[in-house]
Symmetry: C2
Subunit: 385 residues, 2 copies
């Protein structure tokens, strides 16, 4: 096990009918900016629950934060924060709204030239404007971590940011919110969370036994609940398991003391930036090719995953490892997620070269050994056509 | 899954040669009281590492905190805190020293008549004097939770306390510390942590799939590393798995959203108070009888535990459940832990009645359904003679 530091101060408020509890979590004298997305919360009752709980606060609303939160939109929200002397942010949404709120938390206190620096100069925010979240879509884990990914449409860039000062102060997780989520977004959430675990697990063996088993536990639970959640999102028990699994998949716990890969995300982000493909679906496109391409480096862990998560008991290490990749791809497909780039666009020619070019320009080396060069990424993306 | 709230703000600093990092965790102007136990830290080098890291601080030492931290001793430390205007506490030790430090953290700010109230009136400390820990003995999980158990020799009482203000600000976990721990304490630590998980898991089924799997993960890991840790505590990898498993066994995570039992601890505490038997050994005495006595209420979960943790694949639910209890008792015995009260004292007659009398006086009902009456405890303890 590698040395590590772990601190996660977010207060989780989990369960049925818990949205009303935000009232006692926000400081009484706060001036609140309530941030949300396209407005689905106005149809499913969440907006009403939140505004009722905030009835004793001075609140301004900012809706319309898009999926893959967009820099220009967020700069408009930042202007509201400054003009209105906002002191507390409340994100009501999924990963995009929460990530956008983290950017605003950082930008509200940033003293440099332009908030764009936070993304390009990798500014680590030590203390942002305080914020809480009401999660409406289990998927990204953003509700219990301090990272965010922001998109700039202008330049087709998607960049990561974070810092110890960007944990939500609280996050409300009411599994009942999934009852109104379209199936497309539910399966995206399952795929996203599952891939988060893979990125932190599918490396070289490091004999961190507990972290391995926790990661396997999350994947086993997602596999177990996925068909139930899709069949009937009003079934509370699997909904609760699903929601908590998504949070635990990326709250920092399972990555402590172990190497992380994250190359699937780095390549996937480019596919979203280039083609607008849903984030989760880009992961399902890239992951199988990535594991086949890096088979030798990852096969011990792939075989362990095959045995423990997919109950593959027959064959050699190589056999189990290969079967595990096939099981993973089949799992995504059974969710209704296509796993080839050509399923999403006919204009895929040149994509691999374009991504390799971008990685070269940024000087990126990827993977748990930082040994995956732009030309490797090019081959992996081609395999995923 | 039940509704829950979870917040654990302790910063964990885990790994090789990390004790020196306490220097940057304690506020520069702090006046520090360094608390420790019987002085073994002076023989194994931990004392030197800590005092070196504290060389720029104003530090007073208070040694001699005994196993099962004793109220009268702690009151002497409290006098030092008041007389010397101490502002920060540093526990260097195992669960006893850390628990004692939590009592002091609470007592230092308590404004009632006597600090004894904190224990008898169940005062929940919202904000104690800040403290950190350097863990020297993996076992209790006290390094990452907000609870403590304090003993009063005078009245042979052992009482629990806690509150959200009693999390350590930081805890340093260097697995190398176990190299100097006597085997007796190592096996106690394994048994203690294992039983912590059982208490939070072995109830009625509630279909909290992820919590179940996390609990099973910790038990599987403890079973896997126990023989390695005992054979060679200098083997770093199992030492690290052991240390992290003990912390995760009782940092609040696996108990969220599920019922808890804790009857084994309640009965075990009395055996320590009456006979001075090591805490962990009292748990190994009580647990098998407790699970046999409550077999019908717990058999589904016992069978799941048997299947997943002990790989028991044959037989009915009852068969698997019973075999799981036997496996558990055998595990303790293989660690060198006796599992009958008569192995520890010849004067066990009347113990069950005495414990039932105490529980009656306190009005205690135990177990996950609060349905275990003093007469049930009497029968369980008798089964454990």
């Amino acid at each position: 096990m590698n040395n590590f530091e772990f601190k996660n101060p977010t207060k989780i408020i989990f369960g049925k009918d818990t949205i009303k509890k935000i009232e006692s979590e926000i400081p009484a004298n706060a001036k609140v900016l309530m941030l949300y997305g396209g407005g689905s919360i106005k149809k499913n009752g969440i907006y009403d629950q939140v505004t009722k709980a905030l009835s004793n606060f001075d609140v301004i609303e900012f809706g319309g934060i898009p999926a893959n939160p967009e820099y220009d939109t967020l700069m408009k929200a930042l202007k509201v924060i400054k003009d209105e002397n906002i002191s507390y942010l409340l994100a009501v949404g999924g990963g995009s709204v929460i990530d956008g709120t983290k950017f605003l938390s950082a930008a509200a206190v940033y003293e440099g030239d332009t908030p764009w620096d936070i993304l390009t100069k990798k500014v680590r925010t030590q203390k942002g404007m305080p914020f809480g979240t009401v999660l409406t879509l289990p998927a990204t884990g953003s509700e219990m971590n301090s990272g965010a990914v922001i998109t700039r449409a202008e330049t087709k860039e998607k960049l990561a940011m974070g810092g110890p000062g960007l944990f939500p102060e609280f996050s409300v997780l009411d599994p009942q919110v999934i009852t109104s989520i379209p199936e497309r977004q539910l399966v995206n959430g399952i795929t996203d969370a599952f891939t988060h675990v893979l990125e932190q697990y599918m490396t070289y063996p490091i004999e961190a036994s507990l972290q391995d088993r926790f990661a396997e536990s999350i994947m086993q639970t997602l596999i177990e609940v996925a068909p139930k959640v899709i069949k009937d999102p009003t079934d509370y028990k699997p909904a609760a398991d699903f929601m908590w699994s998504c949070t635990m998949a990326l709250n920092g716990l399972i990555q402590k003391g172990v190497p992380g890969d994250w190359a699937v995300h780095m390549m996937g982000h480019e596919l979203t930036a280039l083609f607008g493909i849903d984030h989760a679906r880009t992961l399902a496109i890239v992951a199988p090719s990535h594991y086949k391409y890096n088979f030798e480096a990852k096969k011990e862990k792939l075989a362990q995953y095959g045995e423990r998560v997919w109950n593959i008991t027959e064959g050699s290490v190589d056999d189990k490892a290969y079967a595990a990749i096939e099981k993973t791809e089949a799992f995504f497909q059974e969710l209704g997620i296509d796993t080839k780039l050509s399923d999403y666009t006919k204009e895929y020619e040149g994509t691999a070269e374009e991504i390799a070019k971008r990685f070269t320009e940024r000087g990126w080396k990827l993977g748990e050994r930082q040994a995956l060069m732009p030309e490797d990424a090019e081959k992996i993306v081609k395999m995923a056509y």
